[in-house]
């Protein structure tokens, strides 16, 4: 749990670590070339991506993100965009410091083939 400074004069806020992970994984799904395989037809053929894990320690957060990209997206640029977007979203939304975001493109989906597999 990440303790924050008193939010109101009479209260405190606690943000669960899971929330940081969830924010990171939702942020990763906001990228255009990232396929969301957690629902819909892609769920049938792929494992649930994007997926993020956050480790909060000593006020800073270390995040690992796994995403699925569409073919043919240049992965280096995409991964850097995911890293930057996840970092800014987590910092903006949760107020925690992010020390490091590791991004793995764990899957690449050729959409036509994937669609045909299900049909």
């Amino acid at each position: 749990m990440a303790e924050l400074a008193p939010a109101a004069e009479r209260g405190r806020t606690t943000i669960a670590d899971k929330v940081v992970s969830r924010v990171a994984s939702i942020a990763a799904a906001e990228m255009e070339a990232v396929v969301d395989t957690r629902s819909g037809w892609t769920k049938l053929v792929r494992k649930g991506l994007p997926h993020a894990d956050a480790v909060v320690a000593g006020g800073t957060t270390r995040i690992t993100v796994e995403v699925a990209a569409t073919w043919p997206t240049p992965l280096s640029r995409l991964a850097a965009q995911v890293r930057d977007h996840v970092t800014s979203r987590v910092v903006d939304l949760t107020g925690t410091q992010v020390s490091r975001v590791d991004v793995t493109v764990a899957d690449v989906v050729h959409l036509e083939t994937a669609a045909r597999r299900v049909v």
Partner: protein, 103 residues
Amino acid sequence: MSPAPDADTPDELADQVAAAALAVPGVHGLHAGSFGEVGTYLPGRRVAGIRLAGDLTEVHLAVVMGSPIPDLAAAVATAVSPLVDTPVQVFVEDVVPARTDQE
């Protein structure tokens, strides 16, 4: 869930706290905690996500992705504070993606 006979009258404190928290924009819902352990037992039912201890009021929430969570939690604490005599602690337990059709 048994409807309270005096539903319109200011009923249980837990219900009021829950209503105040849910009224804050950006709150998706109350959250019963990782193991479903957080709640207040009332006669015949349970208000999940609210715990009224003698010296602390806990509000456990799931929020909608989009607004800074510390600000949102502060808003909830501010909304709940007038109802209770104790300090309010807000626990943000989960985030849900913003629905694209609401943006």
